[in-house]
Structures are given as structure tokens and as C-alpha cells.
């Protein structure tokens, strides 16, 4: 299945892209997807570390075990700093 992976701010600078299409197995959890994103972009883990990254599935904050579906939008970003 195909998922749109989005990066913002610091993660976009690290990866050098704002958006990539990635293919995951069916029933992939957000945390497993993130591991595969780390494999594709090792600098993401190196620069930020798993603990400082948050993710959202279809524009909602997601837990590690949230299952991702075909066509979903997965955003990976550092702690927000608006205001």
C-alpha cells in the first residue's frame, strides 16, 4: 500500500524533501512505518532521535500502534513551536 509521508520544519530540512511516497505492508503500525522511514532517511534518526519525533496520521496526532492504511497521509515532525 502507498502512503504519503510529509516532513515539516526541521525534519524537512534534514530529509531535504517535504513529501515522499512510500510503500508499506498492509496493517503497518505507525511505529513500524517510522522504522522504515529511518532506514530510508538515516539522518532523520541521527539528527533528531526517535524520542523527539512526533507523527500524525491524516492530520491527527497518532500513537505508535495506530495502523496506517492505503492512501493515508503520515506526517513526521519535531515538537511544535508556534506562537
Amino acid at each position: 500500500m502507498n502512503v504519503k509521508v510529509l516532513f515539516f520544519g526541521a525534519t524537512a530540512d534534514t530529509v531535504g524533501k517535504r513529501e515522499v511516497e512510500m510503500s508499506f505492508d498492509e496493517e503497518t503500525a505507525a511505529s513500524a512505518a517510522l522504522s522504515q522511514i529511518f532506514e530510508k532517511f538515516p539522518e532523520l534518526q541521527k539528527n533528531h532521535g526517535r524520542k523527539s519525533l512526533h507523527f500524525a496520521v491524516n492530520q491527527k496526532y497518532a500513537d505508535d500502534d495506530e495502523i496506517i492504511n492505503d492512501g493515508d497521509e503520515l506526517a513526521v515532525f519535531t515538537a511544535v513551536s508556534g506562537g
Partner: protein
């Protein structure tokens, strides 16, 4: 004088244009209210002793708007307030330029003060917007309190 004709009119927006604080504050005024508390958040020159040239704000816009809407719903449950407006600017902002405006109207001022403080605190914790500080000799994306969701 501009009011919004007595209608409940919550609003939440993200814009690349300069913010007019007075105009945003007037949009929440209602006949049954007696006070509006408005936060005008703007770009600070010195942070922890380091001098900033300018800031760049970036938003995950659809999610940022939906998180703002959630904050408005939660604040209306929590406080005795009438109208809420939240507007955040993105793009390049110079020192002293307004980055965020939160305006809260209520029949009595105390609830509006409390709600406004709560809203900015939550916005900084949950709404997916990031700021980059640009200095004479480099730049850094600022990270918020990452403990918030872990």
C-alpha cells in the same frame, strides 16, 4: 463601530499576510459581552541572549486549522466565554511583527483572561506550526516542549 451583529462567530485562520490586531479583536465583540482579552504575540529580538534577525514560521496547515478548532471547542466547554478568534501568521516575520493573535470575548473579563492564557499555552503545545530563528551567523528550527506528547 464594527461588531459581528450579535452572532457567535468563532474563527481560526492561518495567513501569510500581516495581522491587524485591532481588526481581529473587534471581530469577536458581541452585544452581551463586556470585555475582550487579546493576545498579540510578536517576534522577539533576543532569545536566551542570542540576537535574532528574523523568524520564519511554517504550518502543517490543514492539521493546524483542525487543532485550532479543537482548542476553541475545548475552551468553550471550559470557560464562561462567548467568542474566540485565533489567527497565526506564517512565512518570514521581522522583529516586532505580530505572529499570533488570540482574541476572546466574554460577559466578564476574568474568564476571558483565563481562556486567552489557556489557549496560547495549548496552541504552543499542540498546533503544528514551527518557527525558525535566523541569526547573523546561522539558523535553528525551534523545538517546543517534546514532553507534551510522550
Amino acid at each position: 463601530m464594527k461588531t459581528n451583529d450579535g452572532q457567535k462567530n468563532h474563527f481560526f485562520e492561518i495567513t501569510g499576510e500581516p495581522l491587524d490586531v485591532g481588526e481581529i479583536a473587534r471581530r469577536v465583540v458581541l452585544p452581551e459581552c463586556g470585555a475582550t482579552v487579546t493576545l498579540d504575540g510578536y517576534v522577539r529580538k533576543f532569545t536566551k541572549g542570542r540576537e535574532t534577525d528574523y523568524l520564519v514560521y511554517e504550518a502543517y496547515e490543514p492539521m493546524a486549522l483542525s487543532e485550532m478548532e479543537k482548542l476553541i471547542d475545548a475552551a468553550l466547554e471550559k470557560f464562561e466565554i462567548a467568542n474566540i478568534g485565533i489567527v497565526h501568521r506564517v512565512g518570514r516575520l521581522e522583529i516586532g511583527e505580530t505572529s499570533v493573535v488570540i482574541a476572546v470575548s466574554s460577559p466578564h473579563r476574568r474568564a476571558a483572561f483565563e481562556a486567552c492564557e489557556w489557549l496560547i499555552k495549548e496552541l504552543k503545545r499542540t498546533v503544528p506550526i514551527w518557527k525558525k530563528e535566523v541569526y547573523a551567523d546561522g539558523e535553528t528550527w525551534i523545538e517546543g516542549d517534546s514532553a507534551a506528547f510522550n
